[in-house]
Symmetry: D2
Subunit: 341 residues, 4 copies
């Protein structure tokens, strides 16, 4: 069976697993006060070109988003985000559970623009009853987006400039960052991303670790007393070193980049095959998620040997489907899929 | 160096680690919908003698407590708990962060009694302005307690009877359950605990896993839509199988019990040694945490080779200290400590 | 000066004020346990044709909405509402502050339809990952809407039927209920509204009282321990009788209806005048709010003697404006406005 | 019947009521943007000797406490307060509902001391695991306390000095401020209080108004975007002028002081009578609340003509009771009570 359902179906990348095995019987302090965590932080900040930044590790994406957003916002502030954003659709209301409204902007293939943000802010401040409205307190984008697309350097610069002008922190959800950084035609590297936002996270769960997300900021003062805050949010891992060990491995020997590159390469092969076979994309994604419209007859045929997800409800004749590759997709998968088609 | 600081300093028990290694490259569905999780649930419910119960897995204790308590309580209800309880002292206010007051009862060596609970409830319902007060909505106890002590079968039965009389769910925090079940002089087994409360959790983090806690209930209707609730609380692990694999291992080949037994045996040896040497306990604990008062000179001497924690601020001449054993404490540790003393 | 800005610019209707004066020096129990409150509840329930219902009084609309919605929803549930609804736009995020997402439906002149609700619910339950989404837990509509429009009996019946089918409570915000019940061409009376929803509130602030909203339900079990809940929300008035006295007056001698009728009559006169003068409506409202597009030259001219609000930002040549009448609008106001035009 | 149950049993002081009547038919902007509110703020700030302070009006005490505390605290901070404090006991958990833990200190006749505060803070910062504990973020005291007692100038100075040293805002709940300022033997005036804390509120509900509390601060930057915050908390009154009119009246012609003086004078007469008759106090209160232990036979006898409350559960032979005077207690009440005794 070939699994193209999603990118969190396997355990950890073998190099990560090896590191966990090697260190398993060591005794270290808890809650991230160990040397592995310290080393992981340093490796990440170095890769990001940050001398004075800070880095924190949490277990999962929803937890990370809820905690960072709750930390960046004041009680009576909301977060500007695409209507398709993960926080708005698929996190069970975790942001609202902590009291914050998501102020949605209409997405364009998963993305929002500097212009939309500016327009929202200008409207808000134009209205003299805006004390009865939720104040926009930050902007959330994902890189890559939930639809696999990525922001160009120009787009991100414009967004960040607009945010800075209105004094709003920009936060980037990088659950699939490794694949975004290796996007076909993409022009952003990690160092640039680190300098074109205020806080972001580097996803581990979908990019090589058993679990874990690394929160990075150039401005530690934006995340005061953050360890306590993670504890309050139920997200401070007792054996914090597990996060440190995994991320230290990801950021050694170029592993994070190798993972992203591999996943995207397979996805691009897959895209090529499907397009050649005459199937239509409903989103043209340059990353590890591929979105196609397939005839139901084709779907039925290949499902016996390939596992993947419908995107929305199946149609009568043809349906939208998503294929996702990752570091754990065997290299011969695309070949097999080609044969099946 | 001998590490007796706490029981979450090492990775996972070798048998658990082996299971994680063996399954690492498999592809499975996420969020606990895999077969390993299914099997772990079955093993746990069987061990608890529950045919119709339900079992859920979360990553850590604070997260588990906040999520379960938030689920069991109505908005305007509070949780009765010992003033020394972990939720009241060391979870950074996570219970209050979700809106619930902790209604504290004075502890007796970490424990509270059926009588105290009854007395609180009678006072509450006696007061006709009780609509201005927080309604007690559940009772929280820990087994073993934060001070290493355990409830006897009689004590737990009395508490549960009182709770049932007032229609309050009883929830047991079992972060160190393995050691509690093997307490010196203890008379409670897991099956009995499962039947003497409404919801409880079996701790993994301190008892053999990398992380993870298993929530068990005889009454699934007490935890409706709980998967979504865990997601909302940021505690639904993407690669849920990691919890399933670890707990399936803990509950195979009697591992959970072996771990508890081993940890307590070492602790009892340690207690014997220290008492023989003439040192005083400030709590007489029958489990893996040992609480002693040591002369500062002794502390200074052994600290070079043994790592352990002060309990509160150090004194002028003597200080309170805590020693904690676990499955990962090497068998020769106590011997070495004895020599040092 | 003629004030047509909004309907909460004056104090209380003289009959209400008289009742407050007459009772001012009496000593009564606090928190709504007085006889006036008891009598007001009875009068309201009688008017609603409810033998077994319950009635509670709060001070303001935002408070009432936040408290009722928080009571009706479970933690992990959201409220379906029009995107233009007051709770979504002008309550400073009070619903989200208590942890609940507003699940917005696109309004049609301020209204939503049974079909939209059904469609949302069917989509939600179709998606097998809906545990990662916020569960719709109730429906909110306003009567009249924020745009002055009203639901017909047929429309409300359809909505309520759909809600009942999916077991969702329907809640009606009646901040301007008096004017809605007297809407031009409207076909709903209070008794019918009371039986076509689960909970609703009868607005006092905009309809004759100094302040106060009366929450009514046929199903008291939907609002358990509600007095304590109001206290928790900071909305339990110490001198609760002030609410009782005011609402007892509103529901004596047909006052509430007289207020609504008067306000709407003036609004209809105003509408007629403006249409005759050739000005366009951007919403055709049958209640006390009137929405017109006026040339800026006209606006400038009449603003010296008439006070009213822009609706959104002013345009270059013409602008959207709102005129609001109420029980306190002097009868000669429309005449004067006509002369000005 | 003589009513000595509590101090919110009557309507408004006649001078306040007159002001409401006189202004009733005026049309003014809502939400406190009217001239009356502006004038009231000025009068209060002048009385407090504050040139640069800010003043906000809310409807009730629980609402005020929850809103101010929620504004002053960061998410992961708690409020230090006496165990007997109103926020801890009788506000239905409103502070916790907004996510904040109350860190209780043992009261001494309703009061806490600078020493207790310092000791708590030193312990907190001594513990290097304090990131797992709730950070003390402010101090709450009431003046007078829930037991009628008042802080001396020396005591308040010490508390404020300690708070300042640790950079914690001090907030004073002045629900019964008028009576506290006129306490027998008291040595604090409003101007001094205003300068010996960071934020406080001047209670109206119990001191002459229909409802309303005036929040005062020397440091407006402590309460940013506070109007929106009040809205979010459901506590922004639509007809805000009602608060302005009432407080402008209270702070004209020395009314607030006259009210406090009168209430305390009656209470002192009552105290004298009861002591003369040989009854024991269980708290010696210098303000308008008096706490006595009476034989049940006496209680039974006078209850036919005097209404008052038990303090806690009645005893077998004698019981604790509370008598409360206010501006609305008729002057002959004490005489009558004396006759009855």
């Amino acid at each position: 069976m070939i699994y193209l359902d999603t990118d969190y179906m396997a355990g950890a990348h073998p190099e990560v697993m090896e590191a966990l095995n090697e260190t398993n019987m060591l005794h270290t302090p808890g809650y991230g006060e160990d040397d592995f965590t310290c080393r992981a932080k340093k490796l990440i900040l170095d890769t990001c070109g940050l001398d004075e930044g800070e880095c924190f590790f949490m277990v999962g994406g929803t937890q990370t988003n809820a905690t960072v957003i709750d930390r960046l916002l004041n009680r009576n502030e909301g977060v500007l985000a695409a209507d398709t954003s993960h926080i708005n659709v698929h996190e069970a209301g975790a942001v609202e559970a902590w009291g914050h409204k998501i102020l949605t902007l209409q997405n364009n293939e998963g993305k929002i623009s500097a212009l939309q943000i500016r327009s929202y802010l200008e409207d808000f401040y134009a209205d003299d009853t805006h004390e009865h409205m939720v104040k926009p307190g930050m902007v959330y984008i994902s890189f890559p987006t939930e639809l696999g697309t990525v922001y160009s350097k120009k787009e991100l610069k414009d967004i960040y400039k607009t945010c800075s002008e209105f004094n709003l922190p920009l936060y980037i959800d990088g659950a699939r960052m490794a694949y975004g950084l290796n996007a076909q035609g993409g022009d952003l590297c990690l160092k640039e991303i680190a300098h074109l936002c205020d806080v972001f996270y580097i996803g581990g769960t979908k990019c090589g670790t058993l679990f874990g997300e690394a929160i990075v900021t150039r401005f530690p003062e934006l995340l005061p007393r953050f360890v306590s805050f993670m504890k309050l949010h139920g997200g401070l891992l007792a054996k914090g070193r597990l996060l440190g060990i995994q991320f230290a491995t990801l950021f050694s020997n170029n592993l994070y980049n190798r993972i992203g590159k591999y996943g995207v390469e397979l996805a691009m092969q897959l895209k090529e095959v499907l397009i050649k076979k005459g199937f239509a994309q409903f989103i043209d994604s340059p990353t590890n998620q591929q979105f196609f419209i397939l005839p139901n007859s084709v779907i039925e045929k290949i499902r016996k040997e390939v596992s993947f997800e419908y995107w929305g409800s199946p149609g009568q004749i043809e349906s939208k489907v998503r294929f996702v590759t990752s570091w754990s997709t065997p290299p011969q998968s695309i070949e097999k899929l080609t044969e099946l088609l």
